[in-house]
C-alpha cells in the first residue's frame, strides 16, 4: 500500500485510491454497450456488430458501420459541445435545435445555385435579387451570424434580466422555430452550390466535430475562459465576489453555444443538400442527453468535453445497434429511453462506488 502524506501537513493520503476520472466511467459504459450489441449480434443475427463478418470490407472492421456510428452523431455532437459549456455554467440551452432550423434556412438561401439542369433554381429564394452562386463564405458568414445573434440574445437575457436559462432559451426555441418557418413560408430550400455541398459531404462532419471537440477541450482546460466557466457553475455568487464578470462571461458562453449550433446547421444543410424549417427539432434534448451521459452535471461545474464526445458515441452506437439488430422501431424508442437512463445510472453508480472505497 503506497501510503503517503501529501499537501501541507495533515492526514494520511493514499495516492493509489485516487478517484477515477469521470470520463473513464463513461468510457466503460460505452465499451459495455458495444459488447452487448456484439454479443446480441452473434446470438440473434449470427453476425458481428463492429467487425466485418460478410467480407465486405478490406479491414477487419465493418467500416461502413464505424463510419455511420460517428457520422450520425457528429452534427448533434457539435451542438453538444456548446451545450456542454452552457451546462457547465449551471445553465441550459433548449434553443439549439431551433437555431439549427433557422440558421440552416437562412444560410442555405444564400448558398443556392442559379440554375438546375438548365432551368432557374425551382427553390430559389433570392433569384430575383441575383444572390445566387455566391462564394461559399457568404452562406457560412450569414449562418454563423444567426448563431451569434440567437446565442447572444440568450446570453444577454440570462445574464442581464436574470430569468432562468430554461425560460430564456425556451423562448428562443419557440421564436427561432418561428423564424425558420417564416423565412421561406415553410418551403424547403434546396440546390446549394458545389462548394457549399462539400461542407457536410462524406466524413467532413466528423472531422469538424472532432476538431471542435479538441479545441474546446483545450480551451476549457487551459484558459481563463474555461476556469471561469467552471467557477460560475460551481458557485455563481463566489465567482461574482471573486471579481469575475459573470454577466459578460455568460453572454460569451451562450453565444459560443449559438455559434456551434449554427455550425451544425451549416454542416447539416450541406450534408442533406437542403434546408427545411423542421430541421433540428428535438436536437437540443439529444445534445443535452449526450452531455449528461458524458458526465456533465446539470448543477454546473463538473464534467468535460471528452465526456460529451463519449456520450455522443454512446448515442451513435445505440442507434446503429438497433438497426443492426432489426429491432422493431416501436421498441427502439422504448428501449432508447431506457438506455439513456441506464447509461446515467451506471455512471452514477460507478462513481459512488469509486467514492466509497
Amino acid at each position: 500500500m503506497a501510503e503517503t502524506t501529501h499537501g501541507i501537513g495533515g492526514l494520511k493520503y493514499d495516492h493509489s485510491k485516487r478517484e477515477r476520472p469521470q470520463e473513464l466511467n463513461v468510457f466503460i459504459a460505452l465499451i459495455l454497450i458495444v459488447a452487448v450489441f456484439e454479443g446480441l449480434g452473434f446470438w440473434l443475427m449470427g453476425q458481428s456488430f463492429l467487425f466485418d463478418s460478410g467480407d465486405r470490407f478490406d479491414s477487419i472492421f465493418n467500416e461502413a458501420r464505424l463510419q455511420i456510428i460517428i457520422l450520425q452523431v457528429a452534427i448533434i455532437g457539435i451542438i453538444a459541445i456548446g451545450v456542454t459549456q452552457v451546462i457547465l455554467t449551471g445553465g441550459i440551452d433548449l434553443s439549439s435545435g431551433s437555431i439549427v432550423g433557422a440558421a440552416a434556412m437562412i444560410a442555405m438561401s444564400f448558398a443556392q445555385v442559379a440554375e438546375v439542369n438548365g432551368f432557374p433554381n425551382p427553390k430559389g429564394i433570392f433569384i430575383e435579387q441575383g444572390w445566387v452562386d455566391l462564394p461559399v463564405i457568404v452562406p457560412i458568414a450569414v449562418g454563423l451570424a444567426c448563431g451569434v445573434v440567437a446565442g447572444g440574445i440568450n446570453g444577454a437575457l440570462v445574464a442581464y434580466t436574470k430569468i432562468p436559462p430554461f425560460i430564456a432559451t425556451l423562448g428562443m426555441m419557440v421564436t427561432a422555430r418561428g423564424v425558420a418557418k417564416w423565412w421561406s413560408k415553410g418551403q424547403p430550400i434546396s440546390f446549394p452550390t458545389e462548394s457549399y455541398s462539400k461542407l457536410g459531404a462524406g466524413m467532413t462532419p466528423v472531422v469538424i466535430f472532432l476538431a471542435l471537440a479538441v479545441l474546446f477541450h483545450l480551451i476549457l482546460r487551459y484558459t481563463v475562459y474555461g476556469k471561469h466557466t467552471y467557477a460560475i457553475g460551481s458557485n455563481e455568487a463566489a465567482a461574482r465576489m471573486s471579481g469575475i464578470n459573470v454577466a459578460r462571461h455568460k453572454v460569451m458562453v451562450y453565444t459560443i453555444a449559438g455559434v456551434l449550433a449554427s455550425v451544425a446547421a451549416i454542416v447539416l444543410s450541406s450534408k442533406n443538400l437542403t434546408a427545411q424549417s423542421g430541421m433540428g427539432v428535438m436536437y437540443e434534448l439529444d445534445a443535452i442527453a449526450m452531455a449528461v451521459i458524458g458526465g456533465i452535471s446539470l448543477q454546473g461545474g463538473r464534467g468535460s468535453v471528452i465526456g460529451t464526445v463519449i456520450g455522443a458515441l454512446i448515442f451513435g452506437v445505440i442507434i446503429s445497434g438497433f438497426t443492426f439488430l432489426r429491432l422493431d422501431a416501436y421498441y427502439q424508442e422504448m428501449v432508447k429511453g431506457a438506455i439513456i437512463v441506464g447509461a446515467v445510472v451506471l455512471d452514477q453508480w460507478r462513481q459512488n462506488k469509486g467514492g466509497k472505497t
Binding site: 460478410g54 465486405r56 465493418n62 461502413a64 458501420r65 463510419q67 455511420i68 457520422l71 450520425q72 452534427i75 432550423g101 439542369n117 425551382p122 427553390k123 425558420a180 418557418k181 413560408k185 415553410g186 418551403q187 424547403p188 430550400i189 434546396s190 447539416l268 450534408k271 442533406n272 443538400l273 437542403t274 427545411q276 424549417s277 423542421g278 430541421m279 427539432v281 428535438m282 442507434i319 446503429s320 438497426t323 443492426f324 432489426r326 422493431d328 422501431a329 416501436y330 427502439q332 424508442e333
Partner: protein, 294 residues
C-alpha cells in the same frame, strides 16, 4: 430478401395506413423481411437511417421522404453503395434524374388541395354564395410540405375567376391536430364574424372544426367543411352530414406498390421508374366506396 424502410413519421395517420399496408403485404410473402424505421420528421435522421441500412447490408431501401427536397443526398448514398431505392408517397425532387436502380411510387400533392378546394367552391356556389363567401383555412404544420402545398392549392383555386367570390377571413395553423383545430375554431367563433366554410389541410383538423362548431350550436348544414385523407373518422362524420368534402389517397396501394418495386429492383428486374397514384375526390355521393380503405 431484407428491405429497409424509412418512414417520415409513425404518428401520422395517413402514413400509418400506408406503413401497415406494406407490412401486411410483406408478412404474406415468403422470405421477405422488412425493417421499418421512424424518421420522426427529421431529414437528417432519415439520411442516417439509410446509411445504417447500408451498413447492415439490406437488399433494398424504401423511403417515405420527410422532405422531398432532401432526396438528392439519399439517392447519392444508395447509389454509391449499389443498393436499390424506392421512394413512396411523396415525389422526390430529383425524380427526373433517378439512377437506374431507383424508382418512385407517389402521388402529386397538388391534386389533393385542389380537388378539395374546388369542390368546396362549387358547393358554396350551389348554396347561393356566389356573391361572396367568407371562409377560414386550417393549415397543417407549417414546416410540412403537404401543408404548405395544400394551402397554396387552396389559394390557387380561390384566385381562379370561378372561385374568386371567396374571401379568406383568416388562416392559421393547427398543426394537423384535431385538438388544436377545435380550440382555434372556438377562438374564431368567439369573435362572432360570419362565415360559410372551413377548408382544412386534413381531415383531423376538419373534424376538430366540426366539433367546435357543434359545441357552439352552429347548424352543420349552414357551413361547408372540407378535409383531405378520407380517414374512417372523416367518413363517419360525412355520413352524419357534418363533413362535406374529403380526398382519398390509396395508402395501402402505395405501400404495396413500393414494396413490389423494391423487390423487383433487388432481384435485378426492370421496373417502371415513375408510378403516380392519383387522389380521388370523396363526397357523400361516393363515400361508400372508401369505407374501410384508409
Amino acid at each position: 430478401e431484407t428491405i429497409g424502410v424509412s418512414m417520415a413519421a409513425f404518428d401520422d395517420n395517413f402514413l400509418t395506413v400506408l406503413r401497415n399496408g406494406m407490412i401486411e403485404t410483406a408478412d404474406g410473402m415468403d422470405g421477405v423481411d422488412i425493417q421499418v424505421e421512424d424518421a420522426q420528421n427529421d431529414v437528417a435522421r432519415q439520411l442516417d437511417q439509410i446509411n445504417n441500412f447500408i451498413a447492415s447490408g439490406v437488399d433494398a431501401i424504401i423511403v417515405n421522404a420527410v422532405d422531398t427536397s432532401a432526396t438528392q443526398a439519399m439517392s447519392a448514398a444508395a447509389e454509391s453503395a449499389g443498393v436499390p431505392l424506392v421512394y413512396v408517397n411523396r415525389e422526390p425532387i430529383n425524380v427526373d434524374e433517378l439512377p437506374d436502380n431507383q424508382a418512385f411510387v407517389a402521388s402529386n400533392e397538388i391534386e389533393s388541395g385542389t380537388l378539395a378546394a374546388f369542390e368546396g367552391c362549387k358547393m358554396l356556389r350551389a348554396a347561393g354564395y356566389a356573391g361572396g363567401a367568407d371562409i377560414y383555412i386550417l393549415m397543417g404544420e407549417l414546416s410540412n410540405q403537404a401543408a404548405v402545398q395544400r394551402t397554396k392549392d387552396f389559394h390557387d383555386v380561390i384566385s381562379m375567376d370561378m372561385c374568386s367570390f371567396i374571401n379568406i377571413v383568416d388562416e392559421q395553423t393547427a398543426n394537423w391536430s384535431r385538438d388544436e383545430a377545435t380550440d382555434l375554431m372556438t377562438n374564431w367563433l368567439s369573435s362572432g364574424d360570419e362565415f360559410q366554410a372551413v377548408f382544412a389541410n386534413n381531415d383531423e383538423m376538419a373534424i376538430g372544426a366540426i366539433q367546435a362548431l357543434k359545441a357552439s350550436g352552429v347548424a352543420m348544414d349552414d357551413v361547408i367543411v372540407t378535409g383531405v385523407d378520407a380517414t374512417q373518422d372523416a367518413l363517419v362524420s360525412m355520413s352524419q352530414g357534418e363533413l362535406d368534402v374529403t380526398v382519398f389517397q390509396d395508402a395501402a396501394g402505395q405501400g404495396t406498390g413500393a414494396l413490389n418495386a423494391a423487390l423487383a429492383l433487388a432481384a435485378g428486374e426492370e421496373v417502371d421508374q415513375k408510378v403516380y397514384i392519383p387522389f380521388i375526390l370523396v363526397t357523400p355521393d361516393n363515400m361508400g366506396e372508401f369505407m374501410g380503405a384508409n
